[in-house]
Subunit: 355 residues, 4 copies
């Protein structure tokens, strides 16, 4: 059973391989009459696109989105929105190495085990390039939620290697290549990443996401709780190895009397005094900020020699050249924001059916 | 849109409130001809049931499962399996406190925000009691995978408060009330929990799950990756605030060259030398162990006085008496194992369609 | 992949075999705060229950519904509603004939081909008894739509054998055993059925359904059009062999200029002058009556000797005694009404997401 | 909740408006390693494309399919297959009439009632042009089932107006513009259609579909029975107003003893002596031919003056010029065959999970 569709009511289907002619997304279920332009989507795509800085890959893709359906006279019509990017920088290159040898950390072996066939060019469907489709769809969800509910999703780099951000200034996030909210830490992170890049290696870290102005009542117990669907959304991104909400793994150090958010009135409205839970109770939002952190592994593509096995079952050494991301977190941030937006949008529509 | 069904091909729907007449599960999609008895399910249910030890609640429920359909002459028939437990220990008690006051950390407020009505008796649908239904369904998935693939899911308590297990002896897990694989640590954990219980408080921790003999090729890119669906399964459990696979949040300390699992031949079979990834690559299993850790918050039910607000919007103090779990991890373990089993079973059936 | 759930937002899962301990339905997605009692459901169940008249089976089942969850203090809570009927009249009888021989027209052979195993007692899951679960769920949908939108679904017998109703008096439908809106025709139909019953045979016919006060805008192009989902709903009933909307098969005799419903104003509201389409255009309702007719085959259970083959592949003669329906239409009517109600309710909730 | 996806395991999502830049389909869940070329799809598309004969519209569209993903080195890879057709013949024309006036029989009014906005150019999403996407997806399903199971789907025109085919010679179907299996009737039908066309009108009829070499065991009781999903598939086509299986509406004239297909051995295999049921019992195929007939309404687009109402609620006359189909049945046939193929393919994959 296939798995290329996310969401129930705001339903995103993505398609496309890294080195095929194009890639895209179909968004079904977007409410009608939302003003939507190419620019709305392109702006978000540009945040993800390769070649933005030295910490990322130097692959150049213009990533120009085309809207093929679902928008008429500048507004959505309620019919499926088809979005497409043509692949341009498909360097003609020699794929003979990865055709026959499984790259460690990649999905080469697992795709062969699953399907018995794979498009080996640049990782095919398992390439991070697929996430461009998610960003296109996410741009629509972001726009809708922001227009209707002033919802805002802020992603930033909390840690790279052992370097942690200790300040949070959201204004600087988009102004440094690390998307870090602490400029001092950002500089240290950048230096670390460039050193590691020079060495042909990659580095992991932690990204954090804050959602402001969350609509109340989102989340569907008992299985489609908001944390459950957000967790799925984030774990569906290739490099994510851990997800936590609010205090997350730190709960082990807390007692119930510490961790329970007391309930209070602020300006006549019921809310929580603290936010250890990260905005979700029993799987349902109450309007306080959602707080999420994700652990991002060091990108699997490195320039070092590694041990592997060939398709025909022989031990081998592999060394893959190419243009890769020494630290993927800055480019993961718009992708993760998009998955969060899509999930919230889906649950926002789901909540409309509680009448 | 409702959220009480989990899975696509092995589809589990649960129903029932904490203090209603009964609770249950309908399992649709179980393959035919699986030998299945009440005992198969009861054995797992007994591992979750309340009143097993002093670290958990003293609520007594016999939790006797009845199989109402889908099994004929001791075998499944391919039709839906309806499983039911009658609630027995519904102490007649005074609910006037939680009827009017929202308990901190609980879903009282969020259910009211979402539905505008709630069954307040014992938390109603948001009670942990609902997870008994999951254990019943999980018992079927476990049995099937074990018979067909020798798959085994081992859950154990890794940490409670600051006390960590440092040994792993699976044989002792079911022999101590903490379900810890390290007997020395288990004793310290038990003492800690009882001290905290005496104080009317609760404590959090970390549980780990190892899956042995995982079928290869499970997981459906790009959204229904195995980590994505396992992540959702685990975050759908009320007390889980963090989930990680393999090295998890520790990836921030690793470089690509450390974290990539080299690919090797063992006894002529392709596998990985290490298992930092936790058995899943590009969202697909390769047959190595799946390794998962979950952060479990201290149970929200405590006996201390807390600050809250009433339904009518007035500040108040709340102090709830009752029988609760000072440390929920030992009882969470069979629940989480069940969700893992259900997810693997669903993906096992999904993989049958790759023909 | 299993098929025992119908609907997306108003989601009905049924379970149970003809001669198992019980059968039931879980309704997930019913809006909260709907007043709901056992009586609301029992009233509809009684319309379907066996033993009402001589044209139907003499099997006696009290069919007493129990509500096990999802209703609190007389109102739905938004959580799943579990409904159960215990089977009582499970005559201990000799099943050795149908255990080994496939009954013509029944699902005995096809279940064995599909599952390789079947509960042969009374047809097991393929028995018409399963439709009691649909009627329970349908009663909830009917009540909701009637309260909110005054929607009314009127089913009646249009034809039995060659006898056609020529009048339409809705008041008499529930007052004759045929559920015919024409009392004169009803008497002729009854005589025909009793003659055929005496002969150990059964007879088919046509039922018609009118939906009044249909909410506007229901139906989701391009695949989940209202006719598509209603068509599926009705063809999921075992004895239905044809479905048509509005003019149906008669369109072959019409030209576009005859068949197009001209659009007019009535009391200042846009509507159609005629209703050849049966209330649905481009898969979407416009508020005019939905008109559906279904062809109902003669029940497969007859008392005559028939030719068949045994499980072990030998030619044989089969003659099954028992209590059966010589004309199933009167009991099919509440079942089909229920499926129509469930479908409309599902689409009513779906339409709430067009915001 | 959107409705532009059909199927569960073989999942087809279509997008595109009649006069937008392009239209297409994403097919998710096609098994890997199926040889697939542009030609495989183009051949089927050409059967549907406009401008083939005088009985259909003279709109000229080359309808050249592009495969954008999911196929590598001539074979499917198990990843989503994205198919696209660019719209070419988008005559610049005056849409002011249908912008303001609702065309009788069309979805103009119902789309406005549902979405509050619509792309009025050529009917937008509600145009029959959307079915080109279905034919592309259907071509893949047809090819797979034919390669694996020799399954063949034969559609032909049974009746146009009052002219009925009385012979069945499958070889002539593709050799006459009516797709009629009776050449004598075909000529009469053609004359009738051309006369009606001259008059600016349209005519309805009946198409029949035979499926040969049906895999056994397809269909999922109790709701996703094979008739239920085929019925939905066919009713999702805009012009279909009736669907029947086997004897269909003729069952009203039959007794159980006539209509029950006796079970016999043929060449040592269990099968049915007759096929009144149309190949499906209890919702499950047994390998005999599936027989379906659909009632096709006269196309709503006619050149005659009709009565209507404007968007602003004023009575008006409408007369739409343009190129339309006087008899849509010949072009509906490949569309309906495609929907049948997609449904069977979906159930074929579903049956793989019965292990």
């Amino acid at each position: 059973m296939p798995g290329n569709t996310f969401g129930s009511l705001f339903r995103v289907t993505t398609w496309g391989e890294s080195h095929g002619p194009a890639l895209g997304a179909v968004v079904d279920g977007c409410p009608p009459k939302l003003p939507l332009s190419v620019k709305d989507i392109q702006t978000e795509l540009n945040r993800r696109k390769p070649g933005q800085s030295k910490v990322g890959t130097s692959r150049k893709e213009e990533d120009n989105v085309e809207i093929l359906s679902g928008v008429f006279e500048g507004k959505t019509t309620g019919t499926p929105i088809s979005l497409l990017i043509k692949n341009k920088d498909q360097r003609s290159r020699d794929y003979s190495i990865i055709k026959h040898l499984y790259r460690p950390g990649h999905a080469d072996l697992s795709f062969d085990l699953k399907y018995g066939i794979r498009d080996y060019r640049g990782g095919g469907r398992s390439s991070g390039r697929e996430t461009a489709s998610r960003v296109m769809a996410g741009a629509i969800a972001k726009k809708y939620l922001h227009l209707k509910e002033k919802t805002q999703i802020i992603g930033h780099t909390l840690q790279v290697g052992s370097i942690q951000a200790t300040k949070f200034d959201p204004k600087v996030i988009e102004k440094n290549p690390l998307r870090c909210a602490d400029l001092t830490a950002a500089k240290k992170m950048e230096k670390l990443v460039l050193d590691i890049k020079k060495d042909g290696d990659s580095v992991g870290g932690i990204a954090e996401f804050l959602v402001k102005n969350v609509p109340k009542g989102l989340g569907e117990p008992v299985f489609d709780k908001l944390e459950a669907d957000l967790g799925k959304a984030l774990f569906s991104i290739g490099t994510v190895k851990g997800v936590e909400f609010g205090e997350g793994f730190n709960v082990t150090n807390l007692k119930g009397s510490d961790n329970n958010d007391q309930i209070v009135l602020k300006k006549g409205k019921i809310t929580s005094k603290t936010n250890y839970a990260g905005g979700i109770y029993g799987g349902i939002s109450i309007g306080t900020d959602i707080i999420i952190r994700v652990a991002v592994k060091p990108a699997s593509s490195i320039l070092k020699q590694q041990q592997t096995v060939s398709k025909t079952g022989k031990s081998a050494k592999i060394k893959v050249d190419g243009r890769h991301d020494a630290c993927i977190i800055p480019r993961l941030i718009p992708v993760a924001e998009s998955m969060i937006a899509i999930t919230l949008m889906d649950h926002y529509l789901r909540q409309q059916t509680i009448i």
